[in-house]
Amino acid sequence: MSSIQRDLSLTGQPPASINSVQKVSTAIVVGGLIILLLALFNINLPNKALWLTLSLVSIFGGILLFSYGAYADKQEGIKNDGVWFKSISSRGFLAWVAGLALTGFYVVLYFKADLLGLSAEGENTGLIALFDPLSKILSGNPASQWFVYGTLYTIAILGFGIKFLWKYRHNRYERLRTISVMFFQTAFAFLIPEFMARLNSDEFSLPYYDIKNVWPLNYYNFEQYRVDDFISAGDIGLALLLFGIASIFVITPILTYKYGKRWYCSWVCGCGGLAETAGDSFRHLSDKSEFAWKVERWVVHSVLVFVVVMTTAVISTYLGYDPDKYWLTKDIFLIGVGVFLTLLFAAIWIFKKEELQKDARYGAIGYLVIVLTLIGIHYTSGSTLFLIPAETLRTTYGFLIGSIFSGVIGTGFYPIFGNRVWCRFGCPMAAILGLQQRLFSKFRITTNGGQCISCGNCSSYCEMGIDVRAYAQKGENIVRASCVGCGICSAVCPRGVLKLENAATDNRINSREVLLGNDVDLMDYLNQN
């Protein structure tokens, strides 16, 4: 059949090229990156502070100039012209080059930091040494690979955040949301932990803590060395530890009930922040098929189970057996976890069973049985913990999920799989928030009566791979666990069909057999049957 393929324009030259301002600005960014590369290859740059400044200013300024070239002469409105024609945003050559470069960077960052110049003893060299001056200003300490990463990450969110603000300058929801992620990244993820490090002394030491990072996203938060640090750091430490616990058990449920998971995923979270700014150009690459949705549900909830088991195991290793020494013993903790999970499961089963699909029911029962069995085995046998040693679980999780999934695949493959691969398939925090959003929240995307024309812009630009159109064209509201509330579906809709809102939980889904606009009697007749 002669159906035209995705690139309709084999004969033509559609608007894929960039203008001269964008070419100059790209050169400036590349210049800034070359400085970093020179440092990486241990070229001795005499005045490190100056070269670092020059590099970072070039990268940041270049991004801003690029945005100016892209949007300055355009009117307010949707700017997706040529998205599927440009090599970088249509899985073309540039996309693969960028993907491989990012992936390579992540591999080195996570597993071969010494190649970047990290030195456990003595002075840093190479790229990391280049960042020493900035690190010393902020925390007083020499830089680490994480400081280099954090600095570049923050610059990416700020630079591309400004680009995004410009692109969506007509949309106040997008503007506020983007300013929010830019703020949380700069203040909470980047600056505050560095300043906190200044408070540390020989007697007083707080662990590195980005307090907007909630367990299980920071799966390491309750590991022994951190908990010891928190407790030994007196009231402040204890307050931070309690805040960490309250974040997931109190603050998160309240905010998610009121606003949906978007309060975190697209307003606060650093992973979300990068995805929404630097990753914005790749949002349409997410897979919209039903098959991908099925894979997503199994994978992301498996990661959640994994992190629960792993954290339970890790915490129980450092708890004692003797209730006289400390009330929270290993047994009490394990029984507590078991009881909590059982109660949670029972509550969902009793109140929300109707809303669970068949595979969700099987999955929930299966996973509960597995977790309780593991706890039971430990409790009765008392020796081998969860069959696999906790330390093995922890390192496996850190390697597979913390490094490979969230970094190498999640961010490295932005230009190939889209910008929310990690958030959609891997993030256990997103899984928890998603369960709640689906079952117990006021948030939904409302479909505007019968106005949908099935054009597909909403589905195309959904970074979470939700087939928004499938709901909108039925007049059904969109209530999906994975929706991060970025608001782009609503923005790109040419007919004003979609609106993100928080409202009463009754009739949240509102599916109609026949759409608004048709015969009232016909609608009644069919919706009653």
Partner: protein, 433 residues
């Protein structure tokens, strides 16, 4: 088993097929010559502009049809023999039906201009039109200049499409303001200004006289009725659409401009129905036109005819009129009836509000004497279908609507609200009156 054959896989035919499947086990065959699978016609523009790929236009995954036992047949129906209940296909095959639904849609209306069949002259309705446009106007080197004839919704879409490839566009419209046969003058003017602001050479009160051949069968220029010659490589004909019914000649199925149907969407021939763009109501329903070439009406006719065919006869009895569109960056929605300045009813009065930045405005139509709310047009402000539909059904007054306008707002969160400004404008206008 009863065999339902549907000719045309647009929104009307597909909706009928889906609803028949929901209600019955009938054998369903969906025929289209245009495309293997259903796609969103209204989104053709986004493929040319690079916002979406062809496959993104398909609202259902390809496996949907087999899963729901809707047989797809890519073929062209040449002739219908209603006596024998047989369709003659272009490849010589014949197809027997028990029930036939005609949902063949529209083709561009051309008005017998000299040169209208030259290469480079085209409309924008079908998938083939999109492919042809990609051939005729791939970039501004092959096609530096285009002239579009006709100022409707497809005209402005085509202008926007060509503009993304930096092709110089002249847009000729017959009226004084863009789409002013439908829009009140103030709105038509706002849209005209917006189109001009995007660098489109929009010319009012201009009509096509003829298209000139360059000697090789291609377009060289057009000549306007005022005698001006405009050289161009592409002529977009967007002077409306007409039902595709030529294949029904001599079939015995009664047509005039469209396929004539009663309220049950039945043609004069038993077991033959017509829905969507190609159907023409024998008597217009309310203030509606007898032929409604709109996505939503096609869908509603599909929903309705499916019930009738499945044994619960329902008349086509659409609720309140609504529609929407987008003109470059300005979204438009309408609910109820707001007629153009020219076509305004005797009893119809308009209240108009415009934002100083010229990208947002509303017009509320109401009854001069009773003050009953008749309809609303909004530009740059989204409205809630459900609320306005309810107000229309409940015959609310214009004052009630203005007082409660914020309940009908559907703009994204944190957007600036204009209700108080709109109310103040209304109150001021009342004092003057």
């Amino acid at each position: 088993m009863e065999h339902v054959v549907i000719v045309g896989n647009g929104i009307a035919g597909v909706t009928a097929a889906r609803h028949i499947r929901k209600n019955s086990d009938k054998k369903i065959t969906l025929i289209s010559a245009e495309s293997e699978h259903f796609f969103s016609r209204t989104a053709l523009m986004y493929v040319y502009m690079g916002h979406m790929r062809w496959k993104d236009l398909k609202p259902y995954e390809d496996k949907f049809w087999a899963k729901n036992q809707i047989d797809l047949l890519q073929a062209y129906v040449e002739k219908i023999n209603p006596q024998e209940q047989i369709l003659h296909l272009a490849d010589g095959q014949k197809l027997k039906y028990d029930t036939l639904i005609l949902a063949t849609g529209s083709i561009p209306a051309k008005y017998g201009w000299e040169g209208q069949d030259l290469k480079g002259v085209q409309g924008l309705v079908s998938k083939q039109d999109l492919e042809l446009l990609e051939h005729n106007a791939p970039n501004n080197e092959v096609c530096p200049k285009a002239v579009i004839i006709g100022g409707g919704l497809i005209g402005v879409e085509l202008a926007e499409m060509l503009h993304t490839r930096k092709i110089d566009v002249t847009l000729l419209v017959r009226e004084k303001g863009f789409w002013s046969g439908v829009l009140p003058d103030a709105e038509a003017q706002l849209i005209s200004e917006h189109i001009l602001s995007h660098g489109i050479d929009l010319r009012h009160e201009e009509e096509l006289d003829k298209i000139i051949d360059n000697g090789t069968g291609n377009v060289q220029a057009i000549v306007t009725k005022k005698g001006e010659e405009i050289p161009c490589n592409l002529v977009g004909i967007t002077t409306g659409v007409k039902p595709k019914i030529d294949f029904l000649k001599d079939s015995g199925i009664e047509t005039d401009k469209g396929i004539l149907v009663n309220r049950l969407l039945e043609t004069n021939v038993k077991n033959v129905y017509a829905i969507g763009d190609c159907a023409r109501q024998r008597e217009a329903i309310g203030l509606r036109k007898p032929i409604e070439a709109v996505w939503y009406t096609g869908r509603m006719m599909g929903e309705t005819v499916a019930q009738t065919i499945c044994g619960t006869p329902f008349e086509y009895n659409p609720g309140n009129w609504f529609n929407s569109a987008k003109f470059f960056d300005i979204e438009y929605q309408t609910y109820g009836w707001v007629f153009s300045t020219k076509n305004k009813k005797d009893y119809e009065q308009h209240f108009h509000w415009k934002h100083p930045d010229n990208t947002k405005c509303i017009t509320i139509a109401f009854h001069k004497e009773s003050l009953q709310f008749l309809g609303i047009n909004t530009f740059g402000i989204r409205m809630r279908h459900e609320v306005l539909d309810r107000w229309l059904n409940e015959h609310k007054s214009v004052e009630y609507v203005l007082q409660h306008l914020s309940q009908a707002n559907f703009d994204p969160e944190f957007y600036k609200k204009y209700e108080s400004h709109i109310q103040a404008t209304y109150n001021a206008s009342k004092q003057i009156a």
